[in-house]
Symmetry: C2
Subunit: 327 residues, 2 copies
DNA sequence: GACATATTGGCAAACGTTTGCCAAACTGAT
DNA sequence: ATCAGTTTGGCAAACGTTTGCCAATATGTC
C-alpha cells in the first residue's frame, strides 16, 4: 500500500502540473481539454490517488470533521442520536468526532476549543449545558445545531420535539383515563426540554380542572436520571398521597421510579401507571410496563445533517420539531 | 475571538523567528536563552496561541486523531466502551473519531480508508469483522487495538476478558446450584468472544458429567442480539425438554429470551434461571431477574489507551485480559 | 495576414507546522 | 589578539492542497 500518493504523483504520471490535477479532482472539468482530463483520470485510477483531507483542511481552513458534543453517551437515547448522526454525516462525506462531556461545563469548553483548533466544519450539541465557551461559540456564528436541549445561551438552530405538547399529551392521557392523583418526576436542574415537558403537563392538568397543589411533584439531584428517579420514587411513594399515574420526563427516570415501586411491592402499572418521554426501543424488551412518548431518535441524524447543510449554505434554519408517537 | 493566531503571530510579538517559537512550544527549552523563552511564553499567553493540529499533522504525517471503529453503537456495552475510551484518549491528549459500521464489512473498509487518509494515530476496533481492509491494516503494522473480538485476520493486540473462563464459570454455577437441564443461546455467526464463551461453557459441563446432547443449544441469525434471543427463546421453550438454566452470551440475548419467557408465562428465575455475559449496569435497574458475568467495560478505555501508547512507543502488547465479576 | 478572444495549463504563493543546517555572537583558554 | 567551542536563533524547505494570475496556444473575425 503506497500511501504516499499525492497530487504530485498523479501529475508526474499524467505529465501535467499539480494545479491541473487539483482542478480536475475538484470537478473543474472545463479548465482542461477532454484529452487531458482523461489522462489525469487514468493516472488517478492507476496510482489509487485519494485527496489528503489534512492538506485540504490546512489550505481551505476547514476540515471534513464535524464535532458532536454530547452530554452523556451512556444514555441510550444519546447513543442512538450519535449513531444516526454518524451515519448521516458519513453519507454526506463528513467525519464525526465524538466528545462526551459528562455534563460538565469545563469539559464542554475544553472540547469546544479543541474542536475549533481542529477546524471542524460544524458542531452538533446534544444536551448542551451553559458555559463561557458556548456563549463564545454562539456569538461567533459558527455552524452549530442544538439537539434535545435548546441553546442555553441565546437562540440557535434546534432539533427536537415539541416538549410542551408532549407533556400536555400525557396529561390528557391521564385525565381521559380517569386518573385522579397524577404526579411528575423530573431533574432539579432541568434543561429546556425537561422544563417544557413539565410545564406542558402541569398547564394541561390545570386546564382540565386540577388545582395546583393536587399535582404531586418530585425532583432529584445529580446527573444520573436513574438515581433521580429512584430517589424521587422514595418520596412519591412514601408520602401520604399515593399517585395513581406518574409522568417521568425520561425513560431512565422511569426505570428508577419503577425500581423503587418494585422494592415497595407496588404493581406497575396496576397500582400506578408510569409514562415516560423518550420511548427508546429497548423499552419493549425490558420495560413492557412502561408507556412512552416515543421520540424518533433514529431520524435525528438525518435532520441534524440537513440542518447543518442549510447553515453551510448560509440559509436560515430555526428549529425542526419532529413528530412523536404515543405508543 | 481572533482565531488567526499562529506561530507567526507569536513570533512577531516576541520579536523572534517562527522556528524559535516552534521549538519552545515543543519544549526544546535549551535552544533559547531563558530571556527569550520568557518573552516567547509571555507572547503566547498574550495572544492566546494554541498550536494548530492540522498544520502539525500535515508536517509530521500524523494527526492527534484516533479512530474508534465500532460494530454497533446502539449496544450499551459498546456505548460504554466508546465513552470510556473517549475519556481516556482526551486525558492523553488525543481526539476520538467514532465510526459505526453496523457490522457491515464494506462500511468497515470504507472507514478504514477514510481514517488512513485522516492520518489517524491509531485504530481501536471494537467487535471488528473480517474484511479486506482489515487484513491490509493488520499487514501494514499500523497501531491497532482489538476489543471484545480478536483480530479476525491474524493476531493483534487485544483487550477483553477470558471468555472461555467466563463460560466455564457459568457452567460451574449451574452445576453447583444443582441444575439438571442447562442451555446456551448464542448468535449463529459468532465472534471469537461468543465462540469462546460457548465452548468454555460446554467443555466445563462435559467435565462435570453432562453428555454432549444433554445440553440444549440454540442459536439465532441476524445482527440484533435482542431478536436472536427472542427467536431462540421460542425454540428453547417450545421443545420437549425445558431447560432450567440458560446461559445467554450477551445481555441483549438475555433480554430477548426473557421476553419470550414472559410471553409464555414462565417465571424467571423461578422456572428457569437466566445468566448473561456482559452485566451492564442497566441490568440492576431493568433486569433484576438477570444474573451476569459483569465485564468492566468502564475501564476498557484506560486499558485500550495504555495499549495504544505501548504500540506507539514500539513496545510489545499482546493481550490484556481484564478481570470480571460474577454478580 | 493581423488582430482580438477563447481555451488550456503552469507558476508560485499560501495555509501552520517542523527541522536540518548555517551564521552570528558569545565564552573561555592560550 | 587569536582561535576553538558553545550557545542562540534564523533561513528555508517540506508536508498536500487550492487558486489568482499570467503565458502560451488555438480559434475565430475582418
Amino acid at each position: 500500500m503506497p500511501e504516499d500518493v499525492s497530487l504530485a504523483t498523479v501529475a508526474a504520471r499524467a505529465g501535467v502540473s499539480v494545479s491541473t490535477v487539483s482542478r480536475i479532482v475538484n470537478g473543474e472539468m472545463r479548465r482542461a481539454s477532454p484529452a487531458t482530463v482523461a489522462r489525469v483520470l487514468d493516472a488517478i485510477e492507476a496510482v489509487g490517488y485519494r485527496p489528503n483531507p489534512v492538506g485540504r483542511a490546512l489550505k481551505s481552513g476547514q476540515s471534513q470533521l464535524v464535532a458532536m458534543i454530547a452530554a452523556n453517551l451512556d444514555n441510550p437515547a444519546m447513543a442512538t442520536i450519535a449513531s444516526s448522526t454518524e451515519a448521516a454525516l458519513r453519507e454526506a462525506g463528513y467525519v464525526m468526532v465524538l466528545c462526551d462531556t459528562h455534563d460538565r461545563p469545563e469539559l464542554q469548553d475544553e472540547y469546544l476549543h479543541a474542536m475549533r483548533a481542529q477546524m471542524v466544519r460544524g458542531y452538533v450539541l446534544v444536551a448542551a449545558v451553559a458555559s463561557p465557551g458556548l456563549s463564545e461559540l454562539s456569538a461567533s456564528g459558527a455552524p452549530a445545531v442544538f439537539v434535545t436541549r435548546r441553546n442555553p445561551s441565546g437562540r440557535g438552530p434546534f432539533v427536537g420535539i415539541d416538549d410542551r405538547a408532549a407533556g400536555a399529551a400525557v396529561a390528557d392521557y391521564f385525565a381521559d383515563l380517569g386518573r385522579r392523583a397524577p404526579a411528575v418526576v423530573f431533574p432539579r436542574l432541568g434543561s429546556s426540554a425537561s422544563r417544557d415537558r413539565v410545564s406542558g403537563f402541569l398547564a394541561r392538568l390545570r386546564q382540565r380542572g386540577w388545582s395546583e397543589d393536587a399535582i404531586i411533584r418530585a425532583d432529584g439531584d445529580g446527573r444520573s436520571h436513574l438515581q433521580i428517579g429512584y430517589d424521587a420514587g422514595a418520596r412519591v411513594f412514601g408520602g401520604r398521597d399515593m399517585p395513581d399515574a406518574i409522568l417521568c420526563v425520561s425513560d431512565q427516570i422511569a426505570y428508577g421510579v419503577n425500581r423503587r415501586a418494585r422494592e415497595r411491592g407496588l404493581k406497575i402499572p396496576g397500582d400506578c401507571e408510569l409514562v415516560s418521554i423518550d420511548g427508546t426501543p429497548l423499552n419493549q424488551w425490558v420495560a413492557p410496563w412502561l408507556k412512552s412518548i416515543e421520540i424518533p431518535y433514529a431520524v435525528y441524524g438525518a435532520e441534524i445533517v440537513a440542518g447543518l447543510q442549510l447553515l453551510w449554505r448560509g440559509e436560515a434554519f430555526g428549529e425542526r420539531l419532529l413528530p412523536y408517537r404515543f405508543g
